[in-house]
Symmetry: C2
Subunit: 299 residues, 2 copies
């Protein structure tokens, strides 16, 4: 129990510094861009567990870096994550009014501003990394920016979301399709969180490959857990509309594998993730705790 308790303390303490860095990351220059900054900040500071930033920091520290080395990238990851939530919630996409128990961005600021706030968060994420990463060789920063860009593009979360929308309502979606979607829609950003952190910390190519295996497994586990939660929790517990997947007859792991099968798959993926960390022993304690946190989360 003690390591787990320490790990929870680690997660909490990192969440606090990440929240501070996020709070300071967006400042209007004057009345001219106050509204868009407000809209960006509304979603960026709407809560959330900061899983991606903390993964990034933990991976960086594991390979000998500091949390200052990782912090600009950690902030960028959460900006990107917020952008994807804002755009996914739009009427033309998932049409959600509620996110983390609060009205979604476009409900508060209107659709046009929500689109622009997402665009601004996305571009600012790259600016933030390029501007504030100090004391790390520039070659590593360029590689992190390359991976961040890939993680959002047509071979990242936008590509995954596009295929997800395309297959919506169809009943011939295979497990392979579903995995492709989630590897890109959810997995790509978790992957870059871990790998960028490792690269900033000075990981070797072999280490980065191990981090790919780890993050690929937790990325899929994350999504399986999400599908399970959608079936088992109330709207209040989730902070977003529950049972929505079934209502729009979305293909989920639960639908394809049954509830027991999905639970077993989640467990299998977590085991695979933990296996990739084995060679690192105690150094990987924080990443191990994060993997457990992802699968055990209540919302």
């Amino acid at each position: 129990m003690l390591p787990l308790l320490l790990s929870r303390r680690y997660l909490y303490s990192k969440k606090v510094v990440v929240d501070q860095a996020l709070e300071a990351s967006i400042m209007p220059v004057g009345p001219q861009n106050q509204k868009i900054c407000e809209s960006m900040k509304y979603s960026l500071m709407a809560g959330g567990k900061r899983v991606r930033p903390i993964l990034c920091i933990a991976a960086c520290e594991m390979f000998g870096g500091t949390d200052e080395d990782a912090m600009p990238t950690a902030v960028a990851l959460e900006m990107i994550h917020s952008m994807s939530l804002i755009h996914d919630d739009l009427p033309a996409m998932d049409n959600d009014d509620l996110r983390r128990g609060k009205p979604t961005n476009h409900v508060v600021y209107g659709e046009a501003m929500a689109i622009l706030a997402g665009d601004a968060l996305l571009s600012k994420s790259f600016e933030h990394v390029a501007k504030f990463t100090k004391g790390v060789p520039a070659e590593r920063v360029v590689e992190v920016l390359r991976r961040l860009g890939e993680a959002v593009g047509e071979l990242g979360l936008a590509g995954g979301q596009a295929m997800d929308l395309e297959l919506e309502g169809r009943d011939d979606t295979t497990l392979e399709d579903l995995r492709w979607i989630h590897r890109h829609k959810t997995g790509a950003l978790l992957n870059v969180a871990v790998c960028a952190g490792a690269i900033l910390g000075g990981a070797s190519p072999k280490d980065v490959a191990a981090m790919e295996t780890f993050s690929d497994a937790i990325g899929l586990a994350f999504q399986v857990a999400d599908d399970i939660l959608d079936c088992t929790q109330t709207t209040e517990q989730l902070g977003k509309t529950a049972g929505k997947d079934e209502a729009v007859s979305k293909t989920t792991y639960v639908k394809l594998m049954g509830m027991d099968g999905a639970r077993a798959e989640a467990r299998r993926l977590v085991d695979a993730a933990l296996g990739a960390l084995e060679p690192y022993g105690e150094r990987a304690a924080a990443l191990r705790a994060l993997a457990m946190f992802i699968i055990e989360r209540e919302n």
Copy 2:
């Protein structure tokens, strides 16, 4: 006449290589992301004068770089420009059905895909620069990525567009407001096109400052010319709906300064731009031609 003729040849030859690079920049990995790639490419290859990429290449060459040094950034600039057109045309924004004489992205691919294609183009632009810029010190690449990010964010085109939408329909917009909007909505990307090219080519901070002056002036000139064209050309000539500014009672330079005043302002701005190039003599021939091209363009 000879220098001008040579300049037009220069512009044309650069447009050809830029178009080739753009064509090769997006490739689906398989059926999974074919649709989003198609949507991205539809807008990226929908024509356009490639002003931003050519500005970037010309500035890079002016300071001793090659067009290979600048090409990934040139491509990125056009990806960002396409993204902004796709998102601006959305029903929730300017609601335009026609762009460069063709149906807009959301008319062809639907709103959800248009939003995602824009997001993917934006993130890919950063990936492209980080991945393909070779033979240039990594510090310069990081600085280019920082400027690109800033040019799109809340202090760039998204910020400018947000304030533009906010002031729409109001009749108390001042010339100062209008300049703020255009400095950000249109100017920021032209600015980074020139400055990023200069930085990649090895320009000194003093040279970059001269390029800021040049690009700020052509950025505003570009917008004044746009407002003039909206009043004087037909939908067919423009390739987009003409007379729209007046129909939605948008504040324009023509409205604030009259047609003659706007023409004089455009000329004044071009003179300021040319003034910033004076110290560079013949080396600045291409940028000089681009400045003239921007103000004299027919569409």
